[in-house]
Symmetry: D2
Subunit: 374 residues, 4 copies
């Protein structure tokens, strides 16, 4: 069973993750992983911190001669700014952050003890872990991309674009946006928000292609793939909503309009002409692209701070200002790709087992052959 | 650690659940539990099955003299229609259901082997289990209600209504709808859909009040309460989207507009004048009402069946027609209440521990007292 | 991931178990399962309860047409003696039982609330679940037997006996003992203990053959197969010790005397001439028979009761006397077989995955073929 | 829920562990932790590696100003000898080690890929993690010590010694042996084994005092404290047997001889005059000292290597010789203390909950007060 833990504070010496359960003999392409970390850092609207840090993953364990050996993989990313012990005490919780709820829970008057961990900087490790999972998925032809659908009022239209078109456009865009016009508007929105010392929310989409039909299961609530994906994506900092396929668009529709009718041909096997289900029916992949969408709330740290309370004196005060982004939707999309990669790799290993890449591939082949003869 | 498993097929002899980890000395109010089961069955637009079944929970284990004794609680609900072995083989998968994906995964040509388990009839047990959790939560003043926000084009406006107003209105409404006008429109939509042999999706909201600040945690991805709630709710049959508080409404907003500023008074402790966060910040409850919303896709079984394929012959065919509802949004809302109840009870027991109700209450008191002195 | 929960009180209406994660298309041979339940009930030295009950498993869910369908399997065994509500309050805890520790933990003065669940009658369900796992293992040629090595002073010598010889002898013996002479002595010991209103401990061995090399893993503490087996076996009522292979016999040995040297031949692949490791090295099966031994303490309920205290009055008193066995070592052995079957089935499914029996077999074939070419 | 993962290879750059779920505001006494690491390294009979390494734990995350803050704690121990990439390929598996079984499982011909992780060097991290747990337990007066009971033929008699006497003697002894005479014999045994290029097994005991009655539970198999302790201890490298209290000594006893009769006095609460149960009845602590014993097989690497096979050529060969100890029983005892500390801390947090030390203490106080009034 694939699993992981992450650790690390935003201004601690380092961020760490252990990924346990990965097969042996998988090539750990560090260039790929570090490129993914760079993708996470980019995005118009990111703050000063991203100019300081240039995240590089170090693999401490689990890899020998550039390949996994079956043992737990430790990924360490060092912080350039490791000033945690010099940074000031935080007494005025920022609305929207874990600051106050966390301080009450853990019994502290210094919200730095909370915010250092609740910070989205934690996602560096999740991207590194997810990138390792992507390398595994690649071996089975599974590919994942995110792209920005919305920032502020600007909305990206991508109807009719293929996965590879979206991928190319997203990778080239400073905002991971596959719609050039929308991108320009988004940049303007961000500039305006910066001028106003404000922050912006948005929405991104993650698409995964080539996952075989049959991942996840309908038999128990915690085995449904969409439920697991929901958990993984909702656990990303600032994500407040999640939908699969048509998602909230289903709310005012009739069954006859939206369910994806089933077709069959020798070449395409069972297939659909629409994909409102977003590739998952009954908690199980159906072979169509997996399409997920998340909403991100505006960054909770504002340069023009909101009203708050000093937790010691209980007097009205302005919220603490920490260095922050104006908008991090494209970055959250990259994190989400990694979360999806982890869940798909986990589902693949549950279905196909295997302790070495060759073994998993052989089992996968068994299943694919059975499908062909179905 | 509170946990459960459910089992049972839609037309098997019975549906079963085991809830493990509940405290001892909790009164098992069977009238309450059975009333919750009845709530799940009601709703304008439900199908013929609901007229056949009158679900009653039997507690087989874990309760003595009307109280829990700390051992696992088994809940059994018998099916009146237990015809699984007489029902016909299903060869034409219904778009939207687990039928086809499940058949490929489990290697069967009879989709009855899949649909009997993927059926939302499974949620009977989840409601029974969740109702037991509600009894536990009641001891701490925590209350939960769902209400229908949308069916088809009809939209319920509940702005400004208090929790208790919404609860009363929802309980009285045939569609769990707190807006009388909307309810009427919804009924019309359902009638029209029935006439057209079609089905309808919608949206419901779940609100939980009086959960203390500090449930869930920001420290690890799988401990965030919103992530866990997402998993629990997204695992309910036909749910395709989930949001917390303002949810997707955040996508085009600025931080200054939406983050809930923090206030303090002796009487109210820390509090907010808005609740866009939906009661959860950084994966942790902040003491405000927890507000969640889910979208439900239209029922996937249509009386005017969609296009499908016979999995044996691979020829075009119409999807199998099983007995089904036209719209089950209010029912899904009741199931969702139970899913929320389970997650809150689990989070309470994680934070406060305790093997008997008295012990958990004492620990809870410790924490509440600390908060008062904070 | 294979998992299960059990529930039920000794004198409740029934005992229940849910087994989740078993493949589809596995024939559920009820005759086999019920025969295993009968094996659990037998054994010279069992008490009156075993004459009352004739345990029969009913499968409520997860099976259709005699085969599994991938959904959770519910097993229910009804108690003939379901007198829990009429049975007297228990105030005088029995030394050796959970009575006192459980009453303090769960905050009750009636130890019936504890002993009804801590009773070894719970193992009925574990045997039923384990028997389903045995049916799965059989498909891969894996077989398991237990036999009694010690009751009181009587010791069974089985040096040099093959697995099948031990199996045959154990199945024929009234005490699951493969040594005829020892069996006679054991019967005498039991008779003497009965006369003295006393009880007896002992030791049994479980052997599993044909598990492939490579189950379990050395990479993380909770993935070691011997550790998991230890947990499963130590969780059986009254078991106080566990060993693998030579076990405690290693304590005064040198490495040169005990480590199993490695040989190779085309026919036998890698093999050993000794099996002190008991089939597990570094937490991984090595292809040799898995050999485990457990010690069982004497039954804690004595007809000549031990000293205790009335928990209400705090006055000295004799321990409560409940109906009980004099010796249940053979029965514990059967339970242990089931615990081993569960753990091996779980390890098989982790390594080979698969949602249908055919799929798991194909993946298993992949691995076995790889081993052949190694 | 307290949990951890460890990672790292014996000759990799470092060994890492993440401990998740520890309360905030616990003082991390690094001197104590490093002293525990030193205890793990000592012991007459250890090999050359222990002279090279002087293990020091670095805490990378989860601690600020010397105290925990509730977030995951990362412990890193650097290897001085980090030569993994220069070390030779291993083709001749050592009997007793994971070498061969692991190579077959993970599909490699270089057993270095296995032995680097299966090495007992992994336990450095477990000791560091367990030491953090000990610091937590200390706050509740819970103390743990191990001592060597057997090496080769030499047997330590400790009958009648108090916990604190055993602790003092063990800490002063070069072999953690509380019996001076036995220690001398043990040293001789080790010297002889060294001369013969052989290795030695043995047995140690772990005692934990002041755990409150009520940890663990009888209600489900995987909640029994003895079962969990068994898993934790059996997962330590080279451990082949585990027993609680009288353990295998129960096998030839009668109930009347061995069950610990129950007494009560105002001062002592419920108590026993004997402790054959080893502090656990029905999977629950009963308030008496927890007494566990483990057998360790002789070190599997012999300087006079055993027969093996070259896995490439399949020709007979001598097993590879790696640097190794002659006997590591005292060291395994220290590791076992840490494994016990983790399980007790986990059980404490399950029962008492709490996110800060003060909160857990208050809940603990609730329970202790209830016991006093029971």
């Amino acid at each position: 069973m694939l699993r992981y833990l992450t650790s690390g504070e935003s201004h601690g010496t380092s961020l760490v993750g252990i990924l346990e359960g990965m097969v042996s003999a998988l090539k750990m392409d560090m260039k790929f992983i570090n490129n993914e970390l760079a993708r996470r850092q980019k995005g118009y609207g990111r703050g000063a911190r991203m100019k300081i840090e240039k995240d590089t993953a170090e693999i401490l364990t689990g890899v020998k001669g550039g390949k996994t050996i079956g043992s737990p993989i430790t990924i360490l990313v060092k912080n350039k700014d490791a000033s945690i012990n010099e940074l000031p005490v935080v007494r005025c919780p920022r609305p929207g952050h874990a600051d106050l709820a966390g301080a009450l829970k853990y019994g502290t008057y210094d919200m730095r003890e909370i915010l250092e961990r609740s910070s989205a900087r934690e996602t560096v490790v999740r991207v590194a872990i997810g990138s390792a999972c992507k390398l595994f998925l690649k071996e089975f032809g599974i590919d994942i991309i995110s792209h920005t659908r919305r920032i502020g009022k600007a909305y990206a239209e991508t109807e009719g674009l293929s996965f590879s078109a979206i991928k190319q456009l997203s990778l080239k865009s400073s905002l991971s946006c596959a719609d050039k016009n929308a991108e320009e508007q988004m940049i303007k929105e961000i500039d305006k928000a910066r001028d106003d010392k404000d922050s912006l929310g948005g929405m991104f989409e993650v698409i995964a292609v080539n996952a075989p039909a049959g991942l996840g299961s309908h038999v128990e609530y915690d085995r449904k793939l969409d439920a697991r994906l929901a958990m993984s994506l909702m656990s990303i900092q600032a994500i407040k909503g999640f939908e699969v396929g048509l998602g909230f668009g289903y709310r005012n529709k009739r069954g006859s309009e939206v369910h994806d009718e089933i077709y069959y041909s020798k070449e395409k096997f069972f297939y659909r002409k629409t994909n409102n289900a977003g590739g998952i029916e009954g908690g199980i992949t159906n072979g169509e692209p997996i399409v997920l969408r998340c909403v991100m709330k505006p960054i909770s740290t504002l340069m023009k701070p909101l009203k708050s309370v000093d937790v010691k004196t209980k007097k009205e005060a302005l919220a603490t200002v920490e260095r922050a982004d104006i908008c991090a939707v494209p970055s959250a999309g990259v994190v989400a790709e990694s979360a999806v990669a982890f869940e798909l790799a986990r589902a693949m290993l549950e279905k196909f087992g295997g302790d070495s890449l060759a073994e998993t591939k052989c089992s996968y082949g068994c299943y694919v052959n059975k499908l062909k003869k179905y």
